[in-house]
Amino acid sequence: MTPYLAVALTSLVAYFIAVKRLGWRPSDLGRALGRMAESLGTGVIFAVVNVLAAAGLVLGLRMLTNRFFSLYSLDDLVWLAVSMLQGWAWGLWRDSKAAPLR
């Protein structure tokens, strides 16, 4: 559990630096976590759509080419990470409408 104690410790330190040194408001942290959850949720939607599209592609290729394409090719964590990036980018793009990115 050592790495997780380190995560807890650095989170605490980061919180105090943000509040005491940088002057960030503690009340904004909840909103930031909400936005994080929203990014994650968008990423999950992308992940589900991606995996369904990929499965359709695999099954379609099997039928069209009469060759075997494995559904196990979908069992890869990279697509999940990429889907999360899609969700993150989507959220940033949407936010840039309200406050243009610098």
Partner: protein, 203 residues
């Protein structure tokens, strides 16, 4: 409820699943729900299902090796007179590579039946059925990963065999977050596969 709230709720649910998966025994319970208890008895054959093929180096994949060793051990324990080593076809035959390993471990050639055909569990069982019938096999010990066992047993039973489960553990001791998440992933993946097999009419 605005759509952003729904998306946020989905994100929170995902976070909750992640933390429950990593830090609680939830994956162990889910895995137990889809796996089949070990119940080994004497049978006519030990059937080791394919497990990812052969690497470019000619070595069996970890999954394939674990299953093969389990099959060889059961044979050496005298639980069946025939060891059936199935495997995916490819540039190098998994079944043949497994047969070589079994031979080196003291299983006589006459007791080994190697098959390298079929890309999916469904196709594999379809290929094995006539081979096993020709050898008079009625009752078999099935060796595959724990999560895969329920689906594989269903197919083998539907093919007309009496099946005994000899699952291979996928994660040795799921007491740390990463092995727990691997177990959760295996359980979820197999859950999806079971649904797919039911929809496709294989089960």
């Amino acid at each position: 409820m605005p759509s952003s709230m729904l998306v946020r709720a989905l994100g929170l649910a995902t976070l909750a699943l992640f933390f429950l998966g990593a830090f609680t025994p939830l994956p162990v319970f889910l895995y137990a729900m889809i796996s089949v208890p070990v119940h080994i008895e004497r049978a006519d054959a030990i059937v080791v299902l394919a497990g990812g093929g052969v690497l470019a180096s000619g070595q069996l994949t970890d999954t394939s090796l674990r299953r093969t060793v389990r099959g060889i051990t059961l044979y050496r324990d005298g639980l069946a007179p025939l060891l059936v080593l199935s495997g995916a076809a490819g540039r190098r035959s998994e079944g043949a590579a497994r047969a070589v390993l079994a031979g080196k471990c003291g299983v006589p050639d006459t007791a080994i039946l190697a098959s390298s055909a079929g890309h999916t569990t469904h196709e594999e069982v379809a290929v094995l059925r006539p081979l096993l019938r020709a050898r008079g096999v009625r009752r078999l010990i099935l060796v595959t990963d724990g999560a895969h066992m329920r689906r594989a047993m269903g197919l083998v039973r539907d093919a007309g065999f009496d099946v005994v489960a000899a699952p291979v553990a996928e994660v040795a001791a799921p007491t740390q977050p990463e092995p727990r998440l691997r177990l959760l992933r295996a359980a979820l993946r197999e859950g999806v596969a079971l649904v797919y097999y039911h929809i496709a009419g294989y089960l």
